[in-house]
Symmetry: C2
Subunit: 249 residues, 2 copies
């Protein structure tokens, strides 16, 4: 069985874009998650079905290559497929293309399932994964883990987790972690650079009403590109870690 | 000439909705502004054309009646028309309907144009308004002004204006003022009440990198509904003022 592929179109609007007229990274994450949810619903294995097994899908990690960020009023096509899975992890691919069919963004991601009662990772029930037609493997591909931030020598800023950070899944929206990472960077940097790659790993959830600290280090790579390393801390808890590589506009 | 009417569909997604699965008020404002921009583009009097006259449209005020907020995965239809205008103001109407054609939200709004150089309100060039087919009048309808907040006895919270608060129009997104108003209210209140009406008036723009203070008072009305009065202050400057009426879910 071949993996099933699912596609949907999305128009990038003024409110999904930043000062540079490019779609924000957070918005891009919202849109690819929507495609994966719609894919699941289409196959009859949506959130309600999955809940019957006492579990919910959680995203562990993304690796993302960006040829060009989508811009305002472009109609992009998001395509996704589940490529492989093993006992604990499912490996999914996304492509974002422009109206000419040119590849803008290529993403891979690693998902797991969390048991509601135990609040921990459990094995993936075959009923919720086989409909995707992914290959069952012993080992899913290893994804590059983001580098650790030097917290003693980081720039950082505190953010409060707001009511509007929670989406209809009743958790803090995953994409908002990316916004906290972006919002510590200087605006002069953000308006003059574009992201070309990022690795992001979710480790612990942040809760409504708490404060988080968004840390970063910035360094110049030999290529001339800039690397920013990010970490979201909630007290002593490491919540999310990411690397972003930027090039000059 | 009859006013031209413009409609577009919008699917409410998980990331546009809050804990209650209802679309956020801010998202609703983003979507109606999109419809008005698309209406202008369709008539050939979009932002670029308007800029040739040295001006830009700015929204002054909204009055909004809500029968029911749109919820996740509904496909809503937003319809808008420009109803009347005079030398300085244009009066626009919006309707949001569900898939059965039932009216969810009725809005009226007042727009003006700002001269870029003078940074002040100027008379509306006829070229940018006549294509809408609105009636030229001496007086546009008066919209209810929101009540003032008692700033000495308000609850308030400070917010920083972030990079991601700026949208591709290169200003702080108008809908984010609404988020600052919502995010001061207690979550227990927000999850148990729904908005049925609001009046919102923009007075001064807030700037990136500054802090704003979001104030509110809450009182019970004779009807049993709750009134929250809101004010966004930037230092001594009154930026946005709003009233929201809520009913128990």
């Amino acid at each position: 069985m071949e993996p099933t592929e699912y596609s949907e179109k999305h128009r990038v609007t003024y409110y999904e874009a930043d000062f540079t007229k490019r779609m924000t990274l957070a918005m891009m994450l919202d849109v690819i998650i929507l495609a994966s949810e719609d894919h699941s619903d289409y196959l009859g294995v949506g959130a309600d079905f999955v809940r019957e097994f006492g579990v919910t899908w959680i995203v562990i990690q993304y690796n993302v290559d960006i040829n060009r960020m989508p811009t305002v009023d472009e109609e992009i096509t998001v395509t996704t497929k589940s490529k492989s899975y093993n006992k604990y992890f499912a490996y999914r691919e996304f492509k974002i293309k422009d109206e000419n069919g040119d590849l803008l963004v290529h993403m891979t991601g690693l998902w797991a399932v969390m048991n509601y009662e135990a609040r921990r990772i459990s094995s993936i029930p075959s009923e919720i994964v086989t409909p995707f037609g992914a290959e069952k493997v012993n080992r899913v591909p290893k994804l590059m883990k983001p580098l650790k931030v030097d917290l003693d020598n980081s720039n950082h800023r505190r953010f409060s987790v707001r009511y509007t950070d929670i989406d209809s899944n009743k958790h803090v929206n995953n994409a908002h972690y990316m916004d906290w990472m972006i919002n510590v960077l200087p605006s002069e940097f953000l308006t003059t650079h574009s992201p070309v790659h990022f690795d992001l790993r979710y480790e612990n959830e942040v809760k409504y009403g708490t404060d988080i600290e968004s840390h970063y280090n910035m360094e110049k790579l030999e290529s001339g590109n800039i690397l920013t390393k990010h970490e979201i801390m909630s007290g002593d808890k490491h919540c999310t870690v990411a690397d972003i590589i930027w090039q000059n506009n």
